[in-house]
Amino acid sequence: MKLIDALMTGLAQGGMIALVALGYTMVFGVLKMINFAHSEVFMMAAYVGLFVIAAVGGTAHPLLAAVGGTVVAMFACSLLGITIERIAYRPIRARTRGSKLARVTPLVTALAVSVLLQNLAQLLFTARYRPYPQLFQNTRPIIFVVAIAMMVFLELVVKKTWFGKAMRALSTNEEAARLMGVRTSRTIAMTFALGSSLAAVGAVLYCLDQSQAYPTMGFKIGTQAFVAAVLGGIGNIPGAMLGGLLIGIIGEMVKLTSYSGGVDVLVFVVLILVLLARPAGLLGTTRVEKV
């Protein structure tokens, strides 16, 4: 019974981590950079969600509050994601194109944006832990179902829509995508919007479960999600989902043993072992194009 319980919790945790991991992996796909500010978008979403839930009346209308908070957070974070890309990343990308720094500079910028957003949150919301109202008795099944629904939705977007096809084309070969008429800037902006809104769903779910929001909350979940994305194969969408679920389950399984303090260590041990065996991650490919 304890095992099944832990498995359920692990799946819920993992689903949420996967939602955040997808943002890392999609942005890496189109830009070949790690968007370290993604974890702060997650944190901002938690605050937006919290305020909307409070405004709607919190526990008086739990369903309305949860849905409203999530939807507004998704919208706000899409804008935030697009803004970060437009202001911080795009100018750098244009100027470093073709240079040796094209890989490094955006990473440093991303770290800077992350620090900036964290401090902005402290300034705006203070550093104190803000309690989230407990809207539901049992949040774990809800988290799991919503996370899975979002992943199905994402899969449909990626496979069936023109945007999804353009995003995958851009991820594989930018020049070839442009030769098809794909507008790279627009596709990149939409990728940020989509990744950020998934993180926003993850954030509200996380807070409903963990009951608090604070400015540095992005760090822990962001690290786990980043590890999940790398574990599954960065740039690979099903990989991020798999990596997230695995990390969630591993975490809960470890908690059953007497080594529960070592969860984070074990997660990284698994990551290192997987990367030693498969450098591109579980589902990643190191395919070389045939010429």
Binding site: R168, T172, A176, R178, L179, R183
Partner: protein, 250 residues
Amino acid sequence: MRVAHPVRPPVDANAALLEVTDLRVNYGGIAALKGVSLHVGKGEIVAMIGANGAGKTTTLKSIVGLLPVAHGSITYAGKSIVGMAVEDLVEAGISLVPEGRAIFPTLTVLENLELGAYVHRDKKTMRETLEDIVQLFPRLGERMKQEAGTLSGGEQQMLAISRSLMARPSLLLLDEPSLGIAPKLVQQIFVAIAQIAAAGVTILLVEQNTRVALRASHRAYVLRTGEIAKSGPSVELAADPEIQAAYLGG
């Protein structure tokens, strides 16, 4: 084979569809093109031949806006296209099949083709072009659901050409369509190129395989270290002793 674009009106260019005048392009700090002039008339198949590094790919990439033009003019259907983005040129009807094919290996054959239609996204046109493509290259028809990376080199070239056709271009630029492909498939691909041209698509192709290129084209330009060394009807160039010695192995 149907080639009309669903929205864009057909180009009416009585003289030249593509006109390049004194094109100079610097690439990697060196003058890759030192004043190239050429023209392609509507309905023509024009070849550009020359050794590796002569500037053939550079010429094509500059025409589609992938490389910055240092000097000179490029007009398409009478309008200057210098400085235009590649995305806009695809919309205007110029499509490049790049060297090395650049298909999307992790996407299926069908998804690759669908992306070709990204500029117009017209369902009916897509359906019709897919039918035509299956007639043109039956091998692709059998492999629609397969990942494109699993195709052979020749099949990938067929896919790359077909993907460009999905956009319903008026001008098709082909960069080394025979590169690294089994001779039997080269034959098939050039038969298809002739069919595409016969349907009304104008073609400018770049080839290292001089024999094949001169046989497939109406006119040709010989490019040597960034300059046009010779030009004329392909039959005449094929009979030219100098060309025979330099490019056709005597």
